[in-house]
Amino acid sequence: MLATLPRTPLRPSRRGFLKSGALAAVGLTLGIHVPTGRLTSALAAEALPGPFHGYLTIGLDGTVTVRAAHMDMGQGIYTGTATLVAEELDADWAQMRVEGGWGNPKLFGNLAWGGEIQGTGGSTGTASSFLRYRQAGAAARAMLIEAAARTWGVPTDGITVESGVVRHPHGKQASFAELAPKAALMPVPAEVRLKDPSQWRYIGNPDLRRLDSVAKTSGTQAFTIDVRLPGMLTAVVAHPPRFGATVAGFDATAAHAVKGVVDVVQIPTGVAVVAETTWAALKGREALAVTWDEHAAETRGTAELTELYRSLLDADGAAVARAEGDAAAAIAGAAKVVTADYEFPYLAHAALEPLDAVARRHLGKIEVWGGHQMPDLYQYLAAQTAGVEPKDVVLHVMMTGGGFGRRAVTDGDVIVEAVATARAIGWKAPVKLLWTREDDMKGGRYRPMYLHRLEAGLDAEGRIVGWRHRIVGQSILRGTPFEGFLVQNGVDATSVEGASNLPYAIPDLVVDLHSPDVGVPVLWWRAVGSTHTAYATEAFIDELAEAAGQDPLAFRLAMLEGHPRHRAVLELAAERAGWGTPPPEGRARGIAVAESFGSYVAQVAEVSVEGGTVRVHRVVCAVDCGVAVNPDVIKAQMEGGIGFGLGAILKGQITLDAGRVEQGNFDGYPVLTIDEMPAVEVHIVASMEPPTGVGEPGVPPIGPAVANAVAAATGKRIRVLPFSRNDLASA
């Protein structure tokens, strides 16, 4: 595998960047010289005009520190990025370290999004990192070898690198730490030869352990909420009780009387109470009296929205996402017609680390600590809020306690609030801004509520001849910077993904949607569109299989001739689950498949229904995500995606009454607990296709797999989510 080093476009930087400061004195740093986009060393970059940013540093202590392009919220991309570097560098796993990179889209831009902006999302981290981090590792390895050859006065041929030790056959050897200062002076190779996959030792190794396990089990892993700075104050914000309301006025007298409250200040999104401790801030906020201007607020509740959405299931003027043939005519001429409506509620992300950010002005810079999922954007937004230039903003990318999409906000909500609050108190102290659980759950940015209508016709042989799929729900992307890319002809790609790319061979098909404007803020939620489209399509396919009198697996396979990867995961999951054999007494099985973000996942769920309660005993999952970089992380993400999705379909719903959110904590919004977690078996399809993501694709199939199993057990089709809204006791 001969690869050319990245040639990023020669485009002048839009802003200045700090030099990394990493010179030979601190070892070898490899990165990108910004103006030329060339991979180079920090030392060589010193002689060139323009800034430099480092991908990886081999320190004098022997550590290899990788600056990751993608932030880690638990999905394991730090471990994954280190794996790619360590593989080509032939480092020892114990010497690997990872930090969050930022501040240079040329270096860290998401290559799966075109490389112009840094961001984590859409399960792209591995795909975006796969080539460049291996190349950086290989280049650093070549420089270490060159340094060794010159030190020892031998040719480079014959020098080997293994587990962080550089060796010559005649007995010489040196560590990375010893060679790093000299390696930093070596020319950066113009081309590097990457290992043949047969030589991989870390990539694909199921025994490789996560780099963050020790810190996360000993309490030493610092999250944003754990940042402590001298003189730091803590702030909480009183937000409006309805979306779209604004502050009309406030009386802070009682709040100021609370011991420990330092300031009460208005910021664009509400009123911030700033105090010496979190508790004082919370008590101060309780004492605060705010009057709200609600003239522009959303005052509809779930019932009104459901009624509106129902009317749109029949309304003209839908935007067409995909149309082939004449679905209406095909259905009109079908031997049998099946229709079904599905209802999906708003869902909260409810990541366990509450939303938080820390901001201060220090040594002429604005520093912001946070779970920075879109760093370039937040650097800009923080600068705008602080009234400084983006070059004067320093970000600290923190390990993040879960995200599930919530931290990928294009307006930087909690980050902007922290900076706005710190500015409003005159930068007199660092400010940690914290949302409580209730602030988060009532604060919007939900997976949108959707209604779906599906209608299909079967011919006399039970083949689907026509398919109509109508989706009604808010656009996530409308009004965001992504609108121009991802909303085409009125179709928000994130509303229809998983539906418009239905893989089944159906000659006449139409998928369309209405995207009503509703004042409830919405956002991507782990697996985004496929969280509802996979449920609707895969549950409906199951209904059609039943109507056609066919086995659900065989029915699907017959329509997937041109989709070998869908077929392969279906067949693998079915085989390992014992599909076609009788399930254990009292249980029934259901199957579903979904491609999302380029990864293919099939799941077979084994359930029982007793006294109206659905119990998922076992889930067999097959995943094809191309090259499996970290097999154990892939398994963990499938297990986690299944648990996350299962909690939502069984019990998750955010509802509104007259515009007010009715849930505030985990009592009103229950999530999956350990006693509800099924035994999950994950089987990874061996593949040399380019790697795709696993953070999200485990989620979509679990809902329909369980729904289909419940139908097999009870005959009842669950079309209104969550399951807790259905009475299965009388089924």
Binding site: T277, G401, I642, G643, F666, T673, I674
Partner: protein, 151 residues
């Protein structure tokens, strides 16, 4: 001023008596391993041991902990704690890791009281929420820790 004994060390804290122990530990004693997740004893991220018993510190008034031995993730030790950490690392339980200090504290308390827990023991003791849904590995790691404690 109140005196809290945390991990064997006396901390003088200037706290209102109704301040939850969690915030005294985090904001006043400066020990941030114990996490805030819900503030209502629903998630368990704030689990510490008070006189050896697992407690959700987000709803315990700090005044109620005066005179007790408080143990946090930073200070928990002993055969069960070592076994739990070793098992957690061996099985790579963590994902985001935010709930894991609380999970570890709950598991240590379980194993100290019940060295060979059944599935039902685990279900009733390990009620902490993990939004990454690492539950399968938590269950396996509790069993693994129980085995490690016997060797």
């Amino acid at each position: 001023m109140l005196t809290l004994t945390i991990n064997g060390v006396a901390h003088e804290v200037d706290a209102d008596p109704d301040m939850p122990l969690l915030w005294a530990i985090r904001d006043l004693a400066g020990l941030t391993g114990t996490k805030y997740g819900c503030g209502a004893a629903l998630c368990g991220a704030c689990t510490v041991h008070v006189d050896g018993e697992p407690v959700r510190s987000c709803v315990m008034p700090v005044s109620a902990a005066v005179g007790s031995a408080i143990t946090t993730i930073e200070g928990v030790d002993g055969p069960a704690a070592r076994a739990v950490r070793a098992a957690w690392e061996k099985l790579d339980v963590v994902q985001c890791g935010y709930c894991q200090p609380g999970q570890v504290m709950a598991a240590v308390a379980l194993l100290q009281a019940t060295p060979r827990p059944t599935e039902a023991d685990i279900d009733s003791a390990m009620t902490n929420i993990c939004r990454c849904a690492t539950y399968q590995r938590i269950r396996a790691a509790v069993h693994e820790a129980a085995r490690l404690m016997e060797t």
